[in-house]
Each structure stands twice: as structure tokens, then as C-alpha cells.
């Protein structure tokens, strides 16, 4: 599975420009599902149909993971060929200093900064620029509106993995691996790879409307509390996938939460509960789609989120797959 994770995290896909990620995912999903389509906004919606199972009521289940990552977009090209930019999604200026970004055509830029008035001044995006090594403006091919993402190779550290864009390529990888391992299911399962989560859950909004599920689980990253002097949180890498109780955008459906925890207990899969003060996931948009959806979230505790070097625990990933497989194999007890 590490190879799959590497491929997905290293793919280029800022919000609105997820084509390369979607093509990679399509390749892995094809042949394992009964139907596959791409909707108007670019969400990839793949259906694995139910195989009836005695004593199990078949439900329509939506699993969602977002393909997009945060990035930057050129807002101005100056006379010397330096590129001013705006953020796509929640970009922390501190993470940009010293970073490199890559454009859709593969060209690389480094981030520069105006000389600060005070040495300890907090860096601001509007005082930074991208330097693509242009000698002058004439030979520059970049223009306003071009989009770039972080570039950083995946590193397998053994138990722990580091890469850019675990948020949420790890969710995509977990969905794909679950699909590969799932021989049959008594439910109609929609594996939905969404667009534009980082800019406002936009792909989830339209795909949930299209799928109209009974039950939904978003698979996404969450934060951690296990680094030195971290913001207090019980979330720990390696303690199992996290079952969301609440975040800033939603209260997880109590029945879905219990169904997930009960299934984890039954399978002997370690898990932790998640109460997140900031941030939210696609599940928030799905929950209030049409007449309402019973929605929950399975999260992977992640260090250094939205930085070019996020870190996760490989065991949490494998256990998330195991739990999802279990959830999709039996009755939905919500």
C-alpha cells in the first residue's frame, strides 16, 4: 500500500485542478467497481453494487475522501518576472518560507520574501513572491491564474510516513485499498473522490446531492496532540484511526459513531475518539445535503497538517482499511 500512498501524495492537485490525481485514482479503481463517472465539478464517483446477504438490509453508503490539496495561485507578474500570489485553501506563510512549489507543467518555483521591516515580523503572503528563475519578464511563460502546489517527495520512515498532501490523499489511498480488499458487500457503496474540499467542501456538496446516500463516512486527516508542547488533544499517532465525535463544522451522527466503534471493538481494531476544535471535513456538507444524511468521519491523526511534510502512522492507515472493510461487510446498525 505504501507505493499507492507515494503515488497519490506526490501527484499534483490543488483545489480546482485535481485532474492528475483523479486520473491516477481512476486507474486503481477501474475494474473493481460496477460504475464510474465524473460529475460537473470533477468529483469521481465509483459505485460497487450490493451482493444481497441474508439478514442484512442493504443501504446506500457514501465514502468520501478529497483529492485536492492546498496551493497557491499567481495574482501578478512584476516587471522582473517575480510572481505575486494568493492562497488556495489554508496556507500558513511560515510553511512557505524555504519551500518550493511546482506548477502543472512541472516547472518549479522557490518562495522569496521582501526584506522584513523588523527581524521578528510574522511573514505575510502579500509580502512574498515566487521566483521561477526567470531572467526577465519577456521569457516567462507564467501568467496570472496559474496554479502551483507544494513539491516534496514521500519518505517511508518505517512505521511513520512523511509527505505533502496526506490531507487527503491518505483518505483516497484508504478508500482504494478498501475497495481492493472488499470482495463483496451487501450495500451499494459509492466511493467518492471529491474536489475542492480545502476551499469550502464544494465537491462534497454536489456529489452528495448526486449520490443521495443513506449513510456517509468521510475519511480525512485530523490533528494530533502528541508532539512536544502540542495543543492539548488526546489524538495520538499509532493509537488507531479516530472516530469523530465533533469538529467545528459538525456533530457526527451518534448512530454512525457507535456503529463504527462497535465494529472496531468486534474486530479488535484499535481506535480513538476525536473531538476537534478547529477545522471540518466533507462530512459537514454531506450531512445537510437534501433531506439530511447520517454522516460520520474516520480520521487519521496527522502531525504538521497543511505543511509540506505532514506525518502519519502506517498502522493507523492499515487499521482504517480493516475497519472500513468490516463496516461495509455487515449490517449498518445505526
Amino acid at each position: 500500500m505504501k507505493q499507492l500512498i507515494q503515488e497519490l501524495t506526490e501527484a499534483y492537485g490543488p483545489s480546482g485542478y485535481e485532474d492528475a490525481v483523479r486520473e491516477a485514482i481512476q486507474k486503481h479503481v477501474a475494474g473493481h467497481v460496477d460504475e464510474m463517472r465524473v460529475d460537473a465539478l470533477g468529483n469521481l464517483i465509483a459505485l460497487k453494487k450490493a451482493t444481497p446477504k441474508k439478514g442484512v438490509q442493504s443501504r446506500k453508503i457514501m465514502l468520501a475522501a478529497h483529492m485536492d490539496e492546498i496551493g497557491v495561485i499567481i495574482s501578478h507578474v512584476d516587471e522582473k518576472g517575480f510572481l505575486r500570489f494568493s492562497a488556495i485553501g489554508g496556507v500558513n506563510p511560515l510553511h512557505l518560507l524555504g519551500s518550493r512549489v511546482v506548477f502543472a507543467d512541472g516547472s518549479v518555483g522557490v518562495i522569496g520574501r521582501e526584506h522584513p521591516d523588523k527581524p521578528d515580523e510574522f511573514p505575510r503572503l502579500d509580502k512574498m513572491f515566487i521566483d521561477v528563475g526567470a531572467v526577465d519578464k519577456k521569457h516567462l511563460t507564467k501568467k496570472v491564474g496559474d496554479v502551483a502546489a507544494f513539491t516534496r517527495p514521500f519518505v517511508d520512515m518505517g512505521q511513520r510516513l512523511t509527505a505533502k498532501a496526506f490531507d487527503d490523499r491518505i483518505g483516497c489511498a484508504i478508500l482504494i485499498q478498501t475497495l481492493h480488499e472488499l470482495k463483496t458487500t451487501p450495500h451499494d457503496v459509492y466511493f467518492v473522490f471529491t474536489v475542492q474540499e480545502e476551499v469550502g467542501l464544494r465537491g462534497a456538496l454536489t456529489s452528495a446531492y448526486g449520490v443521495e446516500p443513506d449513510v456517509a463516512i468521510a475519511v480525512d486527516i485530523t490533528l494530533n496532540g502528541d508532539t512536544p508542547e502540542a495543543r492539548p488533544s488526546s489524538l495520538t499517532l499509532g493509537a488507531g484511526p479516530a472516530i469523530k465525535v465533533k469538529d467545528r463544522g459538525m456533530l457526527a451522527h451518534v448512530g454512525v459513531k457507535k456503529w463504527m466503534a462497535d465494529t472496531a471493538e468486534r474486530l479488535g481494531v484499535p481506535y480513538q475518539f476525536e473531538v476537534l476544535e478547529g477545522g471540518t471535513t466533507d462530512a459537514m456538507a454531506i450531512q445537510t445535503s437534501r433531506a439530511g444524511v447520517a454522516a460520520g468521519v474516520l480520521s487519521i491523526s496527522t502531525r504538521y497538517a497543511h505543511s509540506p511534510s505532514e506525518m502519519i502512522d502506517y498502522g493507523d492507515v492499515l487499521n482504517a482499511v480493516k475497519l472500513l472493510r468490516g463496516l461495509l461487510s455487515g449490517s449498518v446498525t445505526i
Binding site: 465539478l41 495561485i73 495574482s75 501578478h76 516587471e79 501568467k143 491564474g145 456538496l205 454536489t206
Partner: protein, 351 residues
């Protein structure tokens, strides 16, 4: 047309006067029109001929073009015992532009002025401060509360009292209020005079300035395949010392949005607009990404999603009592949108 639209009064939630002007202007150019529950004016112009559909396999698309009728303004919230009127802004207004401005209140257009202390009376500290909307009041010259109550009631809307003027020159500059988004309304009215190879739904929307509310329900009802929002947008092409960009520049042509706070435009639609502009020699510019939001933000996430784009006329000083735009930009937006719409039915949107 722009003069009539600019001088019409239509703060969010009270767009009826603007709607009537538009209805009179378009009723002979469309096949059907209706006003929905929120007040959106939705007009249908049926496609005249089936285009030679390529790629999509669809014979005829539903294309929605939206422009919002509402403008920012004020609402009277309380009448004080001396007869002055407390108010709150409707939509985003910088309180620094309010003091000493002339306004018209309610359907009877009661004239008033936003009161401000004369400079003689301000101490040094007060001169450095920005007055808050909560501290301001409108003076209608009433002798007391009773007289004021006969003329105005809480809930009445106030608009800026700004005449439309042509400043002329090479830019063919005009000034007036509410170019955001009467400029878009004017462009859409022009576009309806032409015929198209698909069903064109023109949506003149309400309540954009308070949260894209009209566009949300209009798009739900229309369920379009593709949408465009036409706007009058932020422009700050003032003299500057640093080599950073203006959001847009007056006179450089219609501004194409790539991304704002509410939408990331489908790159295929951006490319179509750019290609069309270049093929027809129409000037264009990109709006600096990242700022503002438009009806397209609500439309593109409607139902199962709608690929949507935004094209805007740059207008200086919007969300204030007076704004300024170039009629050249307006004419070029009409040309760009007309040529683009002729091609939109054949745009391949499969992935």
C-alpha cells in the same frame, strides 16, 4: 439604459423598481419570463437552431447567465426623539464613505443627509478616528419625532442619491451608483437581443450583496448545464509605487475571474473566454485571484454542480455612493460574452 438602471433604487430585498425597468427592456426579446418567490426575474430565450453538437452528445444545453439587481444601501432601524434616523448597512459598506452623503429614503424618496460634525467642532483625536455606523444618523430636516414618523418608518431602505453622468474622454467614462451590478444587468439585457443555439436562461437575481441568496434558488430552479455571472467588480488601478498588481484596471477590457473567495472557475471555461477574446481581438484582463464573491459561487454548487464562470466590468469605488467605469469595457464585455455564448454549446465538458 445604464443611466436608468444606475439611478433606479434597489437595495437587497427591495429590487422591484429595478426589476420593472429590466422587464420592460427585455419582454419583447424573450419567450417566457417569471418572477420567483424571492423576487428573481428569470427569462427564457429559446434556442433558435440546434447546433451541430460535438463531443457532449447533448443536442441543446441550458445555459444560465446571471446578473444581480440589488445594490448595497442602508436600512432605517430607529427614529430618535429629535427626529433623526438611526440606520444599519445592507451589504458591505465601508463606514468611512458614509459621512455627509445624500440619501433617499423609502418608496417616497424622502431626501436626507447622513449627519456629520463640522470640522470646526472636532478635536485633534476625533479627526484621527473613523466614525462607526452605530454613531451616525440620517437627518431629514424633521422638526421632531412625530414629523419624522409621518415620513419614514423603521425598515425603510435608503439609497445614495447619486446622478449618473458621462465624463467622456477616451475611456468613455461614466459615473453613477450601483454599477455593482447594474453594469452586469445592462450587459445581460444587450445579450438577450441576439439569438443563440441553446436555451438561454437570463436570471436577474436578488440579494447577492447579502449572501448570494437569489442566485441559489434561481439556479436550483433552472438546473443549468453551464452558467455565467456578469458583474461590476472591484478596481483599484490607482497610482502606486510598488510593483504589485491592481485587482483590475479600467479600460483594459472585461475582467475574467480565475478564482475568488466563492469559486474556482473551471479552467475549460476560462480557456474558452480567453480564446474567444483573442480570436475576436477583444481586450480582456484577469481579475486578481482571491478576492470577492459572486452569484457564481452559489450557482456552481447547485444540485450536482454547474461549471460556471465570471466576467466583470471593472468599476472603481464600488460599494460607495459613486462608482466609475468605462463604456468601452462594457461594450467589450457584451462582445466577449456574445461570441463566447455562440460557442458554449459545443464546448466539450466530458472528463
Amino acid at each position: 439604459m445604464l443611466k436608468e438602471l444606475s439611478e433606479a433604487r434597489g437595495v437587497s430585498g427591495d429590487e422591484k423598481a429595478v426589476r420593472q425597468i429590466i422587464l420592460d427592456a427585455i419582454k419583447d426579446t424573450v419567450d417566457e419570463h417569471r418572477v420567483d418567490a424571492l423576487g428573481n426575474l428569470i427569462a427564457l430565450k429559446r434556442g433558435k437552431a440546434l447546433s451541430k453538437a460535438k463531443g457532449s452528445g447533448k443536442s441543446r444545453r441550458k445555459v444560465m447567465v446571471a446578473a444581480h439587481m440589488d445594490e448595497i444601501g442602508l436600512m432605517i432601524v430607529q427614529i430618535e426623539k429629535e427626529g433623526s434616523l438611526r440606520f444599519r448597512p445592507v451589504g458591505g459598506i465601508d463606514s468611512r464613505v458614509l459621512l455627509a452623503k445624500k440619501v433617499l429614503i423609502g418608496d417616497d424618496k424622502v431626501p436626507g443627509v447622513i449627519g456629520s460634525k463640522a470640522v470646526h467642532l472636532l478635536d485633534a483625536r476625533q479627526r484621527q478616528q473613523v466614525a462607526r455606523v452605530e454613531e451616525m444618523s440620517i437627518d431629514i430636516g424633521a422638526s421632531g419625532k412625530e414629523e419624522a414618523e409621518r415620513l419614514v418608518k423603521p425598515g425603510d431602505y435608503a439609497t445614495f442619491d447619486t446622478a449618473f453622468n458621462e465624463l467622456g474622454g477616451e475611456l468613455r467614462a461614466v459615473k453613477g451608483k450601483a454599477f455593482d451590478d447594474r453594469a452586469g444587468c445592462a450587459v445581460l439585457i444587450e445579450l438577450l437581443k441576439e439569438s443563440y443555439p441553446f436555451d438561454l436562461y437570463a436570471a436577474f437575481t436578488v440579494q447577492e450583496e447579502v449572501g448570494l441568496r437569489g442566485a441559489r434558488v434561481a439556479a436550483y430552479a433552472i438546473a443549468p448545464d453551464i452558467a455565467f455571472a456578469l458583474e461590476g467588480t472591484v478596481c483599484d488601478d490607482m497610482p502606486r509605487t510598488k510593483d504589485i498588481s491592481p485587482t483590475t484596471t479600467v479600460g483594459l477590457g472585461p475582467a475574467i475571474t480565475v478564482m475568488d473567495r466563492s469559486i474556482i472557475i473551471d479552467p475549460r471555461l476560462v480557456n474558452l473566454l480567453v480564446k474567444t477574446a483573442e480570436e475576436n481581438g477583444i481586450p480582456y484582463q484577469f481579475k486578481q485571484p482571491g478576492m470577492g464573491s459572486t452569484d457564481a459561487g452559489a450557482i456552481h454548487v447547485t444540485r450536482e454542480g454547474v461549471p460556471s464562470a465570471v466576467v466583470a466590468v471593472p468599476a472603481r469605488y464600488i460599494h460607495s455612493p459613486v462608482s466609475l467605469l468605462s463604456l468601452n469595457d462594457l461594450d467589450n464585455e457584451v462582445r466577449l460574452m456574445h461570441q463566447t455564448l455562440l460557442k458554449v454549446n459545443d464546448l466539450d465538458l466530458t472528463r
